[in-house]
Symmetry: C2
Subunit: 196 residues, 2 copies
């Protein structure tokens, strides 16, 4: 039987996405065994993040200042604006390291069923930014889901004739094997085939 | 791009068993979004555990005092001692809630290859406890692996003639389907079959 402090920690860890009660117990035991290396530094790192993390007032990225590093950097003012659903998508784009412009995080997708309208996902803010930041191209990097694509169409309607609109290419993932791909992807890759 | 504090937290979370870089990022984003409900309380809970968690000097269980609740409770002095490999096994036994005696956590198994001998896994302490705590039955609840069974045999040799020795029954798990069980389990369950 574990003590109440340990039980409390296990219960809290089990609330994290990707962890259940069993993996939370394993993680907590592991942390207790390496407490100097892991438990105390982790607690300190969490306190530091809790104290400093905030949403960028401009793009919605999560960072440690009111305006995130990307929005603050003049080098990123390329006139390109990449629209993503979520901060995790922004981070994924940054890991690829190929996009040099700025981002706009919607924080969700339009959804008639769940009552999510354009103003709930900062689309008016996006329209403002296109003008105020002299954007020449908006890249719609929304997920290839129904909601993602509906949102992309709505945004395209709003910005038509004001800016160049593009979206990420669809096709075979790098390293992907045809046998493991769905029909939709194969069909999209064939339609968008390139001349060698 | 995330800030350095957030990156540090992600790297640390990714070191926990069961989490990789991707799930650590998801967990950290989730925590930041629920910082009042999750990030700060989790940091506090970790600090509390880091400050109080320790190994029971008697049995090796992890708790918040030098002698754990189980060893401290007179009710658990039933004369039965359950030998487990790891604290997580002890917790699993306690969740079953059916064992009323005390435990002895070995903290590993004998392993000639890795140079783990009897004194490394507190077998001498176990032998002492059998005498000093007037133990009448030692239940070997070691994992059904080669190392676990080797260790069980070694302990049985040491304690032979001094105490009643038992081990957990092997058989079909409750709710288990024969089709999904390995041959060893089915064979053990058949050998240990019971008259209805």
């Amino acid at each position: 039987m574990s003590s109440s402090e340990i039980d409390t920690l296990i219960e809290m860890m089990a609330k994290l996405p990707g962890l259940g009660p069993r993996s939370a117990r394993r993680a907590v035991l592991h942390m207790i065994r390496k407490r100097g290396l892991l438990l105390t530094p982790l607690a300190d790192a969490m306190q530091a993040v809790a104290a400093t993390a905030r949403e960028c007032l401009n793009c919605g990225n999560i960072g440690t200042s009111d305006i995130c590093d990307i929005c603050a950097s003049e080098k990123r003012a390329t006139g390109e604006l990449c629209v993503v659903e979520d901060v995790s998508d922004l981070w994924a784009m940054e890991r690829a390291g190929v996009f040099k412009g700025r981002y706009h995080v919607l924080g969700g997708t339009l959804s008639a069923l769940e009552g999510v309208g354009p103003e709930d996902i900062s689309i008016p803010k996006l329209v403002d930014r296109v003008t105020s930041e002299h954007i020449s191209e908006v890249i719609l990097a929304l997920n290839a889901t129904v909601d993602g694509q509906t949102t992309a169409h709505y945004i395209a309607d709003q910005l038509e004739d004001r800016v160049r609109l593009t979206s990420l290419a669809q096709g075979v993932p790098v390293g992907g094997e045809l046998d493991y791909l769905d029909e939709g992807t194969i069909s999209a890759a064939l339609t968008a085939r390139k001349t060698l």
